[in-house]
Subunit: 1005 residues, 2 copies
Amino acid sequence: MGAVVLCRPSPLEPTKCDNSHCPQVDPKMLNIHLVPHTHDDVGWLKTVDQYFYGSRTNIQKAGVQYIIDSVVQSLLRNETRKFIYVETAFFWKWWKLQTPELQEKVKKLVNDGQLEFINGGWCMNDEAAAHYQSIVDQMTWGHRRLQDTFGTCGIPKIGWQIDPFGHSREQASLFAQIGFDGLFLQRLDYDDQNKRKAEKRMELIWQGSDDLGSFDGLFLQRLDYDDQNKRKAEKRMELIWQGSDDLGSAADMFTHAMEMGYGPPSGLNWELAGNSFNQGNDDPIIDDPESEDYNVDKTVDWFINYAKQYSNNYATNNILFPMGTDFYYQSAEPYFKNMDKLIKYVNERKAKGSNINAFYSTPTCYMHGIHLSNYTFTTKKDDFFPYATAPHSFFTGYFTSRPALKRYEKVGNNFLQTCKQLDVLSLGNGKNEEKMTALREWMGVLQHHDAITGTESQHVADNYALILYKSIEKCKSVVNQSLNTLIAKSDPTLNQLFCNALNVSACAVTEGTDNLAVTIYNPFGHNVNPVIRLPVTTKNYKVLDPKGKDVKSDIVPIPPAVLNLAERVSKAKDELVFKAELPALGFATYLLKANGPQNGVNEAKVTKITEAFNIKSKSLNILFDKTGALNAIQLKDGKVVDFKQNFEYYKAHDDHSGEDHQPSGAYILRSDGDTPVIYETGLQSELVETSDAKEVYQKVNEYISQVIRISENSDVIELDFTVGPIPVDNKIGKEIISRWETNLTTNGLFYTDANGRQLLERKRDFRPTWKLTVNEEIAGNYYPVNSRIAMKDVKQDIQMTVLNDRSQGGSSIKDGSVELMVHRRDLFDDVFGVAEALNEPGFDGKGLQIMGKFWIHFTSIAEAAEAHRETAFDILMEPSLTFAKYSGSEEEYLKSHKTQYSGLTKELPKNVHLLTLEQWKGSSYLLRLEHFYQQNESQTLSKPVTLDLKDLFTINWKGSSYLLRLEHFYQQNESQTLSKPVTLDLKDLFTPFVVTKAVETTLSA
Amino acid sequence: MGAVVLCRPSPLEPTKCDNSHCPQVDPKMLNIHLVPHTHDDVGWLKTVDQYFYGSRTNIQKAGVQYIIDSVVQSLLRNETRKFIYVETAFFWKWWKLQTPELQEKVKKLVNDGQLEFINGGWCMNDEAAAHYQSIVDQMTWGHRRLQDTFGTCGIPKIGWQIDPFGHSREQASLFAQIGFDGLFLQRLDYDDQNKRKAEKRMELIWQGSDDLGSFDGLFLQRLDYDDQNKRKAEKRMELIWQGSDDLGSAADMFTHAMEMGYGPPSGLNWELAGNSFNQGNDDPIIDDPESEDYNVDKTVDWFINYAKQYSNNYATNNILFPMGTDFYYQSAEPYFKNMDKLIKYVNERKAKGSNINAFYSTPTCYMHGIHLSNYTFTTKKDDFFPYATAPHSFFTGYFTSRPALKRYEKVGNNFLQTCKQLDVLSLGNGKNEEKMTALREWMGVLQHHDAITGTESQHVADNYALILYKSIEKCKSVVNQSLNTLIAKSDPTLNQLFCNALNVSACAVTEGTDNLAVTIYNPFGHNVNPVIRLPVTTKNYKVLDPKGKDVKSDIVPIPPAVLNLAERVSKAKDELVFKAELPALGFATYLLKANGPQNGVNEAKVTKITEAFNIKSKSLNILFDKTGALNAIQLKDGKVVDFKQNFEYYKAHDDHSGEDHQPSGAYILRSDGDTPVIYETGLQSELVETSDAKEVYQKVNEYISQVIRISENSDVIELDFTVGPIPVDNKIGKEIISRWETNLTTNGLFYTDANGRQLLERKRDFRPTWKLTVNEEIAGNYYPVNSRIAMKDVKQDIQMTVLNDRSQGGSSIKDGSVELMVHRRDLFDDVFGVAEALNEPGFDGKGLQIMGKFWIHFTSIAEAAEAHRETAFDILMEPSLTFAKYSGSEEEYLKSHKTQYSGLTKELPKNVHLLTLEQWKGSSYLLRLEHFYQQNESQTLSKPVTLDLKDLFTINWKGSSYLLRLEHFYQQNESQTLSKPVTLDLKDLFTPFVVTKAVETTLSA
């Protein structure tokens, strides 16, 4: 799995911003780095705009416009002061409103190292539920704004993940590949942290590669409480975290774990405006010796004592005090004024023999101090999930919270990629920039650790969804225009129509009976053959393929649960179903001829299930019992294994009383007991037979239904489920899971993905780096499942892999079993600040209904990767459908319109993914290709692949410069020859490209 | 009663600050003056330093350093912004900490009219309990700092009394004499206010004199609720208030009453930092049309509608919105940023036909708009006491609250005058400036409307007292040094010792038995003959007068109630009592020869009282009943009238429940019922006879005792009382009064002083300017009594006048009776912000014990003034005692030390008071003389008097310039000739003075 390299300045560009602006670290002193910062959630209790403008102070006294206004003024007043700013979404909003005069002053602050951008993505993204494609996008977009505005000195050098609720290995790997010098974090398991503190392992060097050598560390925060406690105990809050086995030293990074949260020491909190969570109530420094309240001596004594105690957790003579927290510095001057005094009076003590040296600093300057210390730190390989703050407070509920929003975000990412690709393929050449920016930015916002996580207030979640909708709408005009250009520039009447509600089988366009040209765009770099399902109100359709040939199609009844969804507005009772064949990075148009004879349309056969039966897929045989429930599976080699599935629920711990005061909620998963309740109301099922597939329509109970689809052309078992509204009449919150049980021997091991990329091994009731005390059997074993969860029977050589369509929490609570949490409804706030129960009202206020989908593979272990990696991209990069009415004959349409198109001369190799293709600055393009197989997971596809970029794209690139990123796609050591670094001469390689200075290549191994 | 003229610039000095900086008022528009301001209490819930530095935010989020810091920065950022600042105590504290560079910038802001000082005294003084001498001092000191720092442009032009709880006529008169152009107030009786609003009489012109013509108005606030309601109803919140009958147009002033409190309209409150009382929770202006929360149109609509409604209360096309309130603008920029937008978008509406013109303004610029309107306003003569906000919420409790602090403040003023005078008389020539400044400033602080009022928190009251103590201690070194210089410059061993606890008859110095030289300094301009009482532990004293002659003296037992005071630390059981004869503005030294024979010492005779008896004073005969209680009095002409006195208490209304939610408390007096409880436990009394006086020691109950002193040399009846701790075991708060009852016919009329100066006629259950509905028979008839309360029987030609030693509330609840409230102890907070019950712990935590004193005159009406005006100054300017040990013989001491001294060649005329004598800037002096009799109150002393300043002072003035203020001391029209203006040639008048440019004279009639 190769490196993904984000937008970086050319290494040839002279660097103006070295560490010369950093304060003098005194090697003989204990150096206290005071790092003024603000943590500005890109939405949480208030929406992005409410936070920016500072409205709705009744919810939270927080206005980012005031923060940046006042910080800039305070920096201008005293050149020794420093400040870091993290969230580019807010900074950019502010920047656009400033006068050119003030902008110039801010540029000087940046160039002088007074104002430093840290992290610098569009937001500080969540690390559990965010997909790596979106993390890469949001980091790229933030850094692009900063680089465009401030040049080299605006580019962040440090990862600062101080609030996400646990930390992902993939995030660390990405940050290393971005070129960050260090990672600063804070939320690690309390046990882990305690251990690290005791052993002065709160910091460690991530061994950076020489290629990325200009960067040093990553500051982040949330890991399992147990982990954290151990780390604290052992002084392992800072560590070298080996982000990827593949990147060697290039993915190693210095990591610093903060000991005291990311807020200031409790005696030094001088925030004036504050908010309800973190008011600064500490007495200011009163330095008039005449005053009754003179407190300089007391304050300095306290500070020195505190600093010495704090330094016991760290190995070097540098310690970092984060001076700020959520939405601090709305009124910066009071805080700076008191820090000015603090620094002055603390340093005056040196004349009396004190060895404490205090100064304004930044993480970059802190790294500088660390480098000077020449200390050798310990290393770490595992991740920081799950995160817990206390024995019963596991942050594993948010892996599933707000499942509809989590799905909508994936839809947004999919459409953003489609939109950006089509803009390029149609040679938009910058004219669509603004229309795409809204979605680029809002997808950046959604990666925020209180957005995609589902830990925001309900009204904020509503706002996230509303603006995502609006941003998608803006991009639709790009897709429409781009498709029309590609299909028939010459047809000015061509207009692509969209259906937003296809997920609930509703579509005003298809439900009319016009003749329709259905254009299906495939953003994936491989050819795909998806089954297309269109809600229709008539069975009189004929489907023609792009060449005008009849296509086999079925009329299939829409499952009753879908028909009954509260939000569904449709008269359609059936779907027209056919299989499409789509070229890589391209489209095919299918013609729907309405009101014609029912040629080729097969009407599905529906029968009530009363006896056990089986359905054969391409090479498997799936056994059901007489209720229609899954029972067993016969594999290719004839082996039959148990294969059962149930919807079940954990009772939410809804109690504020007692010792723990820890209910289940938006952040926290806490079950009452370890055994879920199985719905035993008696399954009612029907069998629906189409021309090449069989579907089992299951009704579990009044609010849970499922369709199991098995095709004779494939071995993927598809499960479409509908859940909700979850009843809470009995005052018990419910955490609903889908659990699969087999008789495989799994020895406590299972596998979950990290941000949709690497698969990590998990072991039940176990942490790799400290001895876990199991206090929460369920919550403590939950891990984020962004794309898939798997288990293996090594002896029998069987792997079962379940893929999902959005991020969820999942685990293997007993051997042979995996489960995913699909929906949650809790009745109490879990006391981590959101101050609302996770009790989504849904469309009609009765409770949220969701639809979701699983894809299940049973394979040999060797074949598993090929199955699930391809399926994962089928899901992530699913095709987009648009509809155009045509009035003439099919023949006329086919003649005058392009019905088949690919942006590639041929599909990409099976192990290469086109991660990014978008118009970049001016006439340049941003292209990212990745080898998406992990080391050793596939005999064939894990191997290196050679890709000839020459003539790869069918498009006639314009402009004279391109931003092209190539990756070395071999894993370390997997090949004696090809794993080695390689030098590539771009000039010879791409004859059609004119290579200019703007071309940038980074080859890393 | 002549004008007191404060520190003003020479009228010849060219004025840089005209109204040219004011915004353009549009005569065709409704002009909205947005006046950004902050109201910074000089102590209330926090101490002065806690407010200045912003410590103890748990109590209140308020830090004045941040306010001025941030306002200055915001003014510098936009030259259209304006701000007013009021309290010089805080401003000066801030100013001293600034860099010269910033000071220059602030000077420019002042010169440009962006930052304007309003009111500008050391504080915004209370108008009920503050004495005019201290008001004059505190205004002078504030203005001096401003004038010294900023020159002419720093001098306030406007009175801004927006928070004091009712308004005094004397205050208005003083402000007119200061030269203020206008008076802005807000707290008037709700009924008064309602009437004024209805009649558009919220504003009126106070007819300024031509002499003071460069000033225009006064902004203030608290009057009786009933008055206020009526005023609101009749639009009489602004009025011409004739401050004094004597000054004619020179004491008339434009007065503006604010309709909505002194805070911003509720929709425009953008205070970011805020405090728990006045958080700014209004949404900021969101002017991004793309935002879901865009609110410009809504906000402008609201503003225009609100402004139009508000303007209905006012007569001209100008209205004033006070944009700020308590401790606002700690973070100024957010507020200004939103006001900038508001003004912009409101004025943009003009293009669409709006007639609303909004701009930043100040009261000065508002006055400018008023002048342009050319409107003729109504007038008013009475004052704004008592103030009520609702039918049961009368702000008349604070007239008495914290009686010990109210007395200590008077002690402070007395010692400050003594200190300043002695500094001048000893030709300190500036060397004592710093030592005196502490007390000057702290006495200024104590005039604050939450200091002397007793409406501060307990810990703040403690701090006021502590720092008053420390400031007095600093001044003691000046008194010591000055006296030593005057007594014997040649004796370097001379050291004056002080006794702080003489009020409780404790003094470590006199309780030793050394020989002592007791120097008694008289700061009054008249000779006085006080009785001196010194606690002693032996009876072996001989007292010698300044010439060495024996002085008649008595040994008198200290009353048991005093002996038992919790805080008293003394072994003395007796007092040595003798009469001293003191020259005006000078001292006499008496020698106490210890351990000698008891020559001339008379030991008082003590007998238990069991029968009725009488005591003769100089010309009266006072009759007691058999319990020792006052019973009747026989006057000079033989008439006998009833004369009874009781200590009684009102039950405090301690109930939060019910409709009114209005308990009695620090601000509010609310009695349960109108009839006080009389202590009927049976008086126990003793008669103590000394050589020329008789004293009745009364024990009323366990916590109330009294000594009645009647001397054969005088007709003043003295009552020394001890009250406390008030028991609250029965959970009932108590409002303790001393009530005197006679059979005089008083017709509902009585008289109370205004700030210790003018006597105003009061009528029970009546207001001069609106029809009062009597809801609170007691509280609604209480008035501030700063120095005296009186009643008259016109038919019998009898006046009874009671003088007190501190400010109290008083009334005449029934005919023939007057009462003063002496002590209060309440158990509930009265919900006006202080959030504490007025439940003073006292020395030992068991409840405050107080001692106090009354002086009673029975005279003919014609003779009353001479009696009470002289006594009032005897009390206010009481002598200071210092003690020096001497080791040689008395003869030696008398030979080598000056034992008699006067700073005057002769005492001042009987109707002239030396109000101020102090070292001023450089080598100049500030001298104020006043004629202190009111028009027609005395046949002889109300008349004009001629004073020859030549050779008046015995001191050899140094320096070449003096600041001399002379006043025309005739009242208007009281003399056909002498009431007219007069021109005085200083050069001829004072031959010893070198008249230079710095000499300033203001003669006003």
